[in-house]
């Protein structure tokens, strides 16, 4: 115990461990880059070797050219999609978290609304999109609504689980301390649920982009979803691939932002990982 317990020992041990960890992370990142480069090379080689026509499958070089030449078109169409994605992400998650908190504090509310939420979830998003366009018009509203709808359910389920994942002994502790419901929420339930929330947000980040793009397939004349359709009809396949790359980059960026936020919001998770 004594060897572990001295603060000085910990101070000495930690930097060495971190350096080692950093080396491993660097190696992992290197391998990931290598994988991508290898896949692109294989793709380029296959397309050249089999002389695949450009309108069926363009080579990576042709996609790169499209990304450069069509940068203006891509950017003009990326903005609406980004706005819809972020709007849907925000609206869907805020509502989901609020309802989850309501569920945990009022069982009647949960038993009334949960089956309804599950039913809405089973409706195919492609079928809801035209309905929402009819209801909400042709602007941003239906797209944000669909992106919100698609992010809503995973966050609701995760948040309900997270808020209920409280250690029963910790609840006893709160009882012994005569904590009010609000205090139990503030000091125990909410922090307990944060890792669950961030898992849900990571799923939601890619899902909301998907929702926005699908929504743009119906009655839209801008956005990445519209661009995908337009490029397909015109056989501008390199542009189609370039659009895909832009969409993927947006999802990755949002995913990255959430991972960074998680590191600040849930710092104890890293500490736990370090001792395991």
């Amino acid at each position: 115990m004594r060897a572990v317990a001295r603060p000085a020992t910990i101070l000495r041990a930690v930097p060495a461990g971190r350096a080692h960890e950093r080396g491993r992370a660097l190696r992992r990142r290197g391998l990931a880059v290598l994988g991508v480069v290898a896949a692109l090379a294989l793709w380029q080689g296959t397309v050249l070797l089999l002389r695949v026509p450009r309108y069926i499958a363009p080579s990576p070089v042709e996609v790169a050219v499209a990304l450069r030449v069509e940068a203006g078109t891509l950017a003009a169409n990326a903005w609406p999609t980004i706005l819809e994605t972020l709007g849907g992400f925000l609206v869907g998650n805020v509502i989901a978290v609020a309802i989850a908190i309501g569920f945990v504090h009022n069982r009647t509310f949960q038993h009334t609304v949960y089956p309804l939420a599950v039913t809405v979830r089973t409706l195919p998003i492609v079928a809801i999109s035209p309905i929402l366009v009819l209801l909400l018009g042709n602007g941003y509203a239906p797209k944000i609504a669909i992106a919100a709808l698609i992010t809503f359910f995973p966050t609701l389920v995760n948040m309900v689980d997270g808020l209920n994942a409280v250690d029963p002994q910790a609840q006893e502790l709160m009882h012994v301390l005569s904590a009010t419901r609000w205090e139990v929420f503030r000091y125990l339930r909410w922090p307990t649920s944060l890792p669950y929330l961030f898992s849900a947000l990571r799923i939601a980040s890619t899902a909301s982009l998907l929702g926005a793009i699908v929504a743009e397939w119906i009655g839209s004349n801008k956005g990445l979803g519209y661009l995908i359709l337009a490029a397909t009809y015109d056989y501008r396949t390199p542009l189609l691939y370039a659009t895909m790359a832009v969409a993927s980059a947006i999802a990755l960026a949002l995913f990255g932002v959430i991972s960074v936020l998680e590191r600040y919001a849930v710092p104890w998770r890293r500490a736990e990982g370090a001792t395991d």
Binding site: P7, I10, Q169, M174, W268, A274
Partner: protein, 245 residues
């Protein structure tokens, strides 16, 4: 503190009448699952008795709980992983705005020092060993200055060496703060070593088999465990437990 418990619906405890004197270190000793933790949780007002009466310093357990007459240490440390050691100790002061109405006699930092964790204020639970986490839990139980400390097999999950060390620490803390301690354990040696008095309980439904006063002088030293007096006590308790089966 006094209880009288008649037959309960679950029939976990039966006919237990026990009075605990203030300032005593009382151990409840019995086989696993005999209901000794249940008894402790009834005192702490975590459970409500179906029948019978518990009086904590003249008040009901729920009044005692609201006035923080009781401090509780669980089998697990039950620390909040997102708080530092010091913030964990300070938690009872934050709940209900306790420290505004009752300025604490000792600060969380001073209590961490008392339990031998000076310099670990900013450590998070995951960075502490099991024994250190349980020390934090003891400091937390003491922070709102309770008159009775309830301990539910607090060292049961620790290895033997750490457990012995924490027994020493607990005795040192007890002689410093002089609170009534009700200590649940299934270790005979631990009960004899720590307590002024040991209550032997039978298996479910728990009944009191024997109450033994331990007349060994304080401060107690580990070497006492090898003395004939100590062995006489452990033998007597073992015999009482044997009858209980």
């Amino acid at each position: 503190m006094a209880f009288e418990l008649a037959d309960g619906a679950l029939d976990v405890l039966r006919g237990i009448t026990l009075t605990i004197r203030q300032g005593d270190f009382v151990s409840l000793l019995g086989p696993s699952g005999c209901g000794k933790s249940t008894l402790l949780r009834l005192i702490a007002d975590v459970l409500t008795p179906t029948q019978g009466r518990i009086s904590v310093l003249g008040a009901s357990p729920s009044e005692a709980r609201r006035h923080r007459v009781l401090g509780m240490v669980f089998q697990q440390p039950v620390l909040l992983p997102w708080l530092t050691a010091e913030a964990n100790v300070a938690l009872p002061l934050r709940i209900g705005g306790w420290s505004r109405r009752h300025p604490p006699a000792s600060s969380p930092a001073a209590l961490l020092q008392l339990v031998g964790l000076d310099g670990f204020h900013r450590a998070r639970p995951a960075q502490l060993s099991g024994g250190m986490q349980q020390r934090v839990a003891i400091a937390r139980a003491l922070v709102s200055d309770p008159q009775i400390l309830l301990m539910d097999e607090p060292f049961g999950a620790l290895d033997a060496i750490t457990r012995d060390r924490l027994n020493e620490e607990l005795l040192r803390i007890w002689t410093q703060v002089r609170r009534t301690v009700v200590f649940v354990t299934h270790s005979i040696a631990e009960a004899v070593y720590l307590s002024t008095r040991v209550v032997v309980l039978s298996p479910r439904p728990a009944q009191i088999r024997r109450i033994v006063d331990i007349d060994l002088p304080y401060p107690r030293r580990p070497a006492m465990k090898d003395t004939p007096e100590f062995t006489r006590y452990t033998a007597a308790l073992r015999a009482a437990l044997g009858e209980a089966e």
